[in-house]
């Protein structure tokens, strides 16, 4: 089986795995931004496409009017649209046309597609620069990072931007290997789509530029790479119709939104950061403590091989690129005044390159083990800690901490947040259905705001009883308390409700994630 067949097999297997495990990741609070945006953008494309197919010039020009573009692209205009186009396409196909899944799951399938693409590209990159064994290792390390597995399904921009940065790395390497007009065009298109995904990408392009210089690429190659980046910027602009009108003002709004992002609380090493930013080391520490030990150790070996050992130039080149992208993605969040929140999500692309480095780090073991079965056995063993993490933390992947850090218990004891994203755990709905068969009032604390929209969505899908409604805690029959220390009111809320009977508690390794309290039943009764 050739490299491309292996790649197709790996990507297809990942696609199936992702599609059949959608329910393992609870909805996130980002769904209320990205799902309506994806739906709106997709509808615009459907309308414009239909006008084009029917050669209806009037309808087509209406689609491109400022009114139509503003209406369609206003939702979530704080972020560029590419990932939402893909979520929208999967929404149109899997929900609207085929009716196979609900709207959120349909959007998630678009993200899963990008995740599978990232896996295929990681495989191809490592297979072509190192070996098939290490390509499987890199993909295995990537798959067996529990937090990443959550993001593979989440209806957000973080996995899409990871996938697009992997695509940028792939395209840049291919362009530098051989300068052809076709490769130039394809690389520019990839850069354009990536830039139209999320703000992490310009930093990745900086890393790619540094890599080209580190690799001492010929001046002409560097110039062509730079030109493809410039063309990429233009392509990304063309892909974002929101920017077609009032361009200067909207561009300024976009920049201001990200440079003065509204504060989001983060709990880190026992400190509650919101108005003040977490210390510079937060992203580095968060990256390290959310990776299984074997992956982390072999990534370190991969860095050592790449920077200190005499190895094949192709492998070294890939290792250098992976190292630079990792450092720049995480390092960008260490800069002064850059907001950091949401665990690992803001530097998610780094994890793909850490997996590549970990795969490259198996070089010596590959040399020592010439027998194929022995290689398969050692790889399976080295992936076991991550795989066990996937199994043990299923449904609670954002609570995962590396086993070397003590897992969820270690994270909680070190003062790290044990979850974020105001997750819509499906067991909240099932326990409320069981406890309130005739309906009733429920308060979700400490942050009720996001859960109101979950209740509505659950009810639309028939997952939650129609008469179970959110309400203020004073009127609530049941209180759902998420155990999140990043909310300053949390200690008081727990003190207030702890005397009520806990009718359900979700926990991981004993660490509580949420509790459902019966306000009518005091434990003393």
């Amino acid at each position: 089986m050739g490299q491309f067949r292996h790649t197709l097999f790996v990507a297809a297997a990942a696609l199936c795995l992702g599609a059949f495990t959608l329910d393992l990741s609870p909805w996130s609070d980002d769904a209320r931004f990205y799902v309506p945006a994806a739906r709106s953008y997709a509808q615009w494309f459907a309308d414009a496409g239909s006008a084009l197919v029917h050669a209806d010039v009037e309808a087509l020009s209406r689609s491109f009017s400022q009114d139509a573009l503003d209406t369609a692209f206003k939702p979530n205009h704080e972020h560029p649209p590419f990932a939402k186009y893909l979520m929208g396409a999967s929404y149109l196909v899997f929900h609207q046309a085929l009716g196979l899944v609900d709207p959120v799951s349909a959007c998630r399938l678009g993200v899963v597609g990008l995740w599978a693409m990232a896996i295929g590209l990681i495989f191809l990159l490592v297979a072509s620069h190192a070996s098939l064994f290490r390509a499987y290792a890199s993909v295995g390390f990537f798959l067996c990072m529990p937090r990443l597995f959550f993001h593979a399904h989440a209806e957000t921009l973080d996995m899409p931007v990871l996938a697009m940065i992997v695509a940028c790395a792939f395209a840049a390497i291919k362009l530098c290997e051989k300068l052809t007009p076709w490769r130039f065009a394809a690389t520019s298109a990839v850069f354009g789509c990536a830039l139209a995904t999320k703000l992490n990408v310009p930093f990745a392009l900086v890393a790619i530029g540094l890599w080209a210089l580190w690799e001492r690429q010929p001046r002409r190659t560097v110039a062509v790479l730079g030109a493809s980046m410039v063309l990429g910027v233009l392509i990304s602009f063309a892909m974002w119709p929101w920017m077609y009108f009032d361009t200067a003002q909207r561009l300024a709004e976009y920049i201001t939104f990200h440079t003065r992002h509204y504060p989001i609380a983060m709990y880190y090493l026992g400190g509650l950061y919101k108005s003040t930013l977490p210390p510079w080391h937060a992203p580095w520490v968060m990256a390290a403590v959310t990776i299984p030990l074997t992956t982390l150790a072999f990534a370190a070996v991969g860095i050592w091989r790449t920077t200190r050992c005499a190895i094949d130039p192709g492998e070294r080149s890939l290792g250098r690129l992976a190292l630079l992208i990792t450092v720049v993605q995480i390092g960008a969040l260490s800069l002064p005044n850059v907001p950091v929140y949401g665990g690992e999500k803001l530097f998610l692309p780094a994890f793909a390159f850490i997996a590549i480095l970990a795969g490259l780090g198996l070089g010596k073991i590959q040399e020592e083990l010439t027998n194929a079965s022995a290689r398969v056995a050692i790889l399976a063993l080295l992936l076991a800690p991550g795989f066990l993490g996937l199994v043990a933390y299923r449904g609670s992947y954002l609570s995962y901490f590396g086993e070397w850090f003590g897992g969820a218990r270690g994270g909680a004891q070190a003062g790290m947040e044990n979850q974020y994203y105001d997750l819509a755990y499906p067991d909240i709905a099932s326990v409320l259905n069981e406890k309130l068969p005739n309906g009733g009032c429920v308060a979700v604390l400490p942050n009720p705001r996001e859960y109101n929209s979950y209740f509505e969505r659950w009810q639309r899908l028939g997952v939650l009883g129609p008469d179970i409604n959110p309400c203020p805690p004073e009127q609530a029959r049941f209180v759902v308390l998420t155990h999140e220390r990043r909310w300053p009111t949390y200690p008081e809320l727990l003190a207030r409700y702890r005397n009520n009977t806990v009718v359900y508690q979700r926990k991981i390794a004993g660490v509580p994630l949420f509790s459902v309290f019966d306000t009518a039943r005091n434990r003393a009764e």
Binding site: A297, L388, G407, N418
Partner: protein, 133 residues
């Protein structure tokens, strides 16, 4: 294995990893079943009976949360340090109730420890942001 030092090192690493993983899920002894828990709560209850007292009882670490309902109902008990920004709230006392020799939460690293008591396998430590040690 001596001819395969990297493979040997990988296997050692794997054992450390699997041992740590198992350890991170090892069964816990709930604090309320530990010897000394009742004495500790009996010690606390009269001291904190005033509802206006600025004192909190904190069950620690967080996986000991199921012991909270076993504390007297009159106590203001929780499993997290009440915070104001990056520091514990000013002018509060925190009675940390934990298994003996458990490290204190990082939130209290800078907070003076006033006293410490041992009841069987249970430790009770008083931290105060409002007074000197």
């Amino acid at each position: 294995m001596s001819a395969k030092p990297h493979t040997f090192a990988a296997i050692v690493l794997l054992f450390i990893s699997l041992w740590s993983f198992a350890n991170s899920f090892a069964p816990l002894r709930p604090l309320h079943t530990s010897p000394g828990f009742e004495e500790a709560t009996n010690f606390l209850a009269p001291r904190l009976s005033d509802p206006k007292s600025p004192a909190w009882v904190m069950v620690w670490p967080p996986e000991q949360n199921p012991s909270l309902p076993h504390l007297p109902a009159s106590l203001r008990a929780t499993d997290a340090v009440p915070m104001q920004g990056t520091s514990p709230r000013p002018s509060i006392d925190v009675w940390l109730l934990s298994p003996a020799k458990s490290p204190a939460p990082p939130e209290l690293d800078e907070t003076p420890q006033i006293s410490s008591y041992r009841f069987g396998d249970v430790e009770l430590r008083l931290y105060s942001t409002g007074r000197a040690p």
